[in-house]
């Protein structure tokens, strides 16, 4: 049992550790690198869950695109100095208490919900490209097309916000 759990346990430990380091490391570039590592471990979880399509999309979109955008912005505005003033202990304690209370609330909600789970794990193959492709271009074709409009709007918006105002 433990042996079969081992890949999950290793990946989960790495995910939690790197997520903590994102929050705790002082230099922003280290945070970005730890976040990339965290995304790779989450990609490993997707592989364990037989979600190959999501694994590929996750690696390409998150590790490939979003984190490069973060790194690019960080280097662009040259923030690797530790200019962030240390927060007071009061604020740190308050943040930790709030986060801990949230954790408590979520854990107790999960444990109080009772048994909503199916009796046995489904053996359907749902994570493959073939299944998801059929689903995406069948039932979900309208949201899929709307996503392209959303991305176009986001691109136009980013360019509009980011460009220098030369006139006026």
């Amino acid at each position: 049992m433990l042996n079969q759990n081992l890949p999950f346990m290793i990946l989960a430990t790495l995910s939690v550790f790197s997520a903590l380091m994102v929050v705790l490391s002082r230099k922003p570039v280290h945070s970005v690198l730890y976040l990339i590592f965290c995304f790779f471990t989450i990609g490993g979880h997707y592989l364990l869950l037989n979600a190959q399509f999501l694994f590929a999309v996750h690696i390409i979109v998150y590790a490939g695109a979003i984190m490069v955008l973060f790194l690019f912005t960080l280097m662009f505005i040259n923030l690797n100095k530790e200019l962030e003033p240390h927060k007071t202990n009061l604020v740190k304690a308050a943040a930790t208490i709030v986060a801990g209370t949230l954790l408590l609330v979520m854990v107790s909600t999960v444990t109080d919900t009772g048994n909503i789970l199916p009796a046995q794990v489904s053996q359907n193959e749902v994570g493959t490209v073939a299944v998801l492709g059929k689903k995406l271009y069948g039932d979900y074709v309208l949201p899929f097309e709307l996503t392209s409009i959303l991305l176009l709007a986001a691109m136009v918006g980013a360019v509009m916000i980011g460009k220098k105002k030369t006139e006026s």
Partner: protein
């Protein structure tokens, strides 16, 4: 092919997602660098994505994974616009400290 969920209980995934989400919340409350606050929001999105994928595999229902795909698309759009806004804020204020962004506060 046996699913991983026949050896790893779904509760473990619930626990992992809750912990990752809480770390993200803590980061948002904790840090003052707006870019790191942004990254913690991504972390929270990923915790939810992981749980959606786990439940979708558990139920053998592809809809959950399609939802994860859409969440990723929305996250990409959000990051592009958000980072553009941050760069503009930096051009105006010469800082990304969220304590300095208080013009709309009062």
């Amino acid at each position: 092919m046996n699913s991983i969920l026949s050896v790893v209980p779904i509760e473990y995934y619930l626990g992992l997602s809750v912990i990752l989400f809480t770390i993200g919340v803590m980061g948002v409350l904790f840090r003052r660098n707006a870019i790191i606050v942004f990254m913690c929001i991504e972390l929270m999105l990923n915790a939810v994505n992981l749980l959606l994928t786990a439940f979708s595999t558990l139920h053998g229902e592809a809809g959950g994974q399609v939802m994860v795909f859409f969440i990723m698309a929305v996250a990409a759009a959000e990051v592009a616009v958000g980072l553009a806004i941050l760069v503009m804020i930096y051009n105006h204020l010469r800082t990304v400290d969220i304590k300095e962004m208080n013009k709309l506060k009062w």
